[in-house]
């Protein structure tokens, strides 16, 4: 059975085509102004990549902020359930899933059998999300991909005391003007985001194995800061960015 999961996030749309638990194709694009159109184009693209057509698809489940805007869905399921489902499939026994997306971040607690027992999401502000990192990377004139190498190069971490994106940005500007190396600032930013996620996570209790998903999972700097602050190893599964879409497709195949 071929099923599809569409994760229409605030920044990016991810589509996964799945058969028997295996991802046949996955496509990602910027969501832009028309989430439904983007989702449709991504879906066509993904199907084309694996030589299938819409007729071959048994069921589509949508997730993400635009989940209720996508036509053709069987139903919509929240990112919390989808990320948990996807991560548990790839890392059986996972007890904690940390999903850091463009606009929000979540810590999801599982009971060891895949059942979500609790979750916590960041409050209504951009602190601790991918957006925070994007703004800071632009200020530092760095590519987000370079964060891990900068993190490794850093001799120390600058203290970023504000959790507010706007205030943190002005802190970064002032650090740059003081001549603080970009690597220290990067490490400070990763620590800031990680300590915010860590304190969120402690509300639901972080237990091993911990899986990191969402767009920011590719940012090695944040992962390393998280590991340091939490004192545990964090698993970034393959296709971690597609975990919501993958989970949605898995739910579609079982419902």
């Amino acid at each position: 059975m071929i099923t599809v999961g569409i994760d229409s996030g605030s920044r990016a749309t991810k589509v996964a085509v799945v058969s028997d638990g295996r991802i046949l194709a996955a496509v990602k694009a910027e969501t832009g102004r028309e989430p439904a159109l983007t989702a449709s184009l991504c879906l066509d693209d993904a199907l084309r990549n694996c030589g299938l057509s819409r007729q071959d698809v048994s069921s589509i489940i949508t997730t993400g902020y635009g989940r209720d805007l996508i036509p053709g869905r069987k139903r919509s399921v929240t990112e919390i359930t989808c990320h948990a489902r996807g991560a548990f499939e790839i890392v059986p026994g996972a007890k904690t899933v940390i999903d850091i997306g463009g606009q929000d971040s979540k810590v999801i607690r599982l009971d060891g059998t895949g059942l979500v027992i609790d979750f916590v999401m960041n409050d209504k502000c951009a602190a601790g999300t991918g957006r925070f990192l994007e703004v800071m990377a632009r200020r530092l004139e760095l590519d987000l991909k370079d964060f891990e190498s900068e993190w490794e190069d850093a001799r120390d971490a600058s203290k970023i005391s504000s959790i507010c994106t706007v205030f943190a940005e002005s802190e970064v500007v002032s650090l740059i003007s003081q001549g603080v190396p970009a690597s220290s600032v990067v490490r400070g930013l990763c620590d800031a985001i990680a300590s915010r996620i860590a304190s969120m996570g402690r509300r639901v209790g972080i237990e091993r194995p911990v899986v990191l998903t969402g767009g920011v999972s590719l940012n090695g700097g944040v992962r390393r800061s998280l590991e340091r602050i939490l004192g545990i190893e964090i698993i970034v599964p393959p296709m971690s960015v597609f975990m919501g879409a993958y989970g949605a497709a898995l739910i579609a195949s079982s419902s």
Partner: protein, 445 residues
């Protein structure tokens, strides 16, 4: 609606006696189309607003947890500014009120229920109080913000100091305060006296008795009253005790609920899950509750509908009021709130608990962690939903919906797992019984 002239127009309407005559007439002519309890509530509100805005009776402002029996007992009209902030949100004027209060320099950190009524005064939308009574137990912001109204109205301002624990001496101390405050008001405000106090207590006791029947009816599964509507009626629960209209309202509500149960007419007929709702809700238009009802989720009961105080003795009214304040489960050690929440969870057989975390509400949000741990230990899913009940600009509907939908998914998954476990244990039992039967058959053959 948000034009500059709208509040001035609304102020003229509110202060015109004709408005209330027309509204009463409209209720008499068309009220038959309303649900009886809605009609009773509308009649009560219109008559009190008429009395308050046309100064037919002295108005006493009271903060949200002051027992209104003393206001009715004095012969005045109670006006709870926080409650009217909720109405302002429902009528789309809360943003103007909030902007106005912020322009006056009130901090954005203050709960919007307070910011809004402070701004409504600036817009001349409040009646003029003859006295103000506040009790800062639970809500401290009320003491500060209502004081501002007393300064602008130049009226006496009373603070009831509620002891933290309930002992004989705290009851004595509190009843003495209540008595003294009421005596003082009756001396200082012309037209008020203490002679109606017994009657107000009697009314309150009668309403309480009927209301307990309403609570009993609400235990029915599916829930006979929509929780989002019940949360609108928190205004009556906070401001109607001691009045005649509250008795009528609860009588008709009990009748309507009885009929609904007899005829199996429920707001959420396909009820799958039941919730207990703590603290308030967004009073402006929001699709949160539509989502819940569409998904087969009922709000079976709300924290602010819970009767926690015993019947009062009319002859010892001040003592009765003191006990009512002291027994408020939101005051005193947090264990009292935990006990009350657990009683509601058990009485209404809910699958989960949602606490609406009103921005700036310390009394409720402060205990969130303890409550979360307590409920988690008991195996009851708990969600803290951040939001703002009065200021629609201060929260994101999409984010709230995601949290609520995820919470429903968590409850659903638990239920499925419990069903699966139940099925498995039944199957195991059947298999074991079969095995035993076969062994028995074998023995007999």
């Amino acid at each position: 609606m948000r034009s500059g002239r709208f509040p001035a127009f609304l102020s003229t309407i509110l202060k015109n006696k004709l408005t209330y005559r027309v509204a009463s007439l409209a209720l008499r002519c068309f009220g038959g189309r309303m649900c009886p309890y809605q009609l009773a509530a509308a009649k009560g509100v219109i008559s009190e607003l008429g009395d308050a805005y046309s100064a037919r009776k002295p108005v006493i402002f009271a903060s949200a947890f002051v027992p209104t029996e003393i206001v009715y007992g004095l012969g005045a009209v109670p006006y709870l500014p926080e409650m009217w902030s909720g109405f302002a949100a429902a009528f789309g004027v809360s943003e103007r009120g909030i902007d106005e209060s912020e322009a006056k320099g009130y901090s954005q950190d203050l709960c919007s229920f307070h910011r809004c009524h402070l701004g409504l005064e600036e817009l001349s939308l409040l009646p003029r109080p003859s006295a103000i009574i506040v009790s800062p137990h639970l809500c401290d912001g009320g003491r500060r913000s209502l004081y501002a109204h007393s300064v602008s109205a130049g009226c006496p301002f009373y603070v009831i100091d509620v002891p933290y624990v309930m002992t004989d001496s705290s009851v004595r101390w509190l009843s003495l305060q209540v008595e003294r405050i009421c005596e003082d008001i009756s001396r200082r405000v012309p037209g008020l006296g203490l002679d109606r106090m017994g009657r107000a207590i009697e009314n309150s006791n009668r309403a309480r008795k009927i209301y307990l029947d309403v609570c009993q009816l609400r235990r029915n599964e599916p829930a006979p009253w929509s929780g989002s509507e019940a949360l609108n009626y928190v205004f009556a629960f906070l401001s109607g005790w001691g009045s005649e209209w509250l008795i009528e309202l609860y009588e008709s509500l009990a009748n309507v609920l009885k009929h609904r149960i007899e005829e199996s007419r429920y707001p959420v007929p396909q009820e799958r899950l039941r919730l207990l709702w703590l603290n308030l809700k967004p009073y402006y238009k929001s699709s949160l509750f539509e989502y819940l009802e569409r998904s087969g989720v009922s709000i079976a009961f709300e924290e602010y509908s819970y009767v926690y105080w015993p019947e009062m003795d009319e002859r010892r009214w001040a003592e009765g009021i003191a006990i009512k304040m002291l027994t408020n489960f939101g005051w005193g050690p947090i264990e009292r709130r935990l006990d009350a929440v657990w009683k509601m969870v058990s009485d209404y057989q809910v699958d989960g608990v949602v606490q609406f975390d009103q921005w700036g509400c310390r009394q409720s949000n402060g205990g969130g962690r303890v409550l979360a741990d307590f409920l988690r230990e008991k195996g009851i899913p708990f969600l803290e939903l951040d939001g703002d009940a009065v200021d629609p600009r201060n929260s994101s509907l999409a984010q709230a919906l995601t949290r609520l939908q995820a919470f429903v998914e968590v409850m659903d998954a638990r239920r499925q797992q419990a069903r699966g476990a139940h099925l498995l244990s039944s199957l195991t039992r059947i298999t074991q019984e079969r095995g035993r039967d076969q062994q028995d058959d074998h023995r007999w053959n």
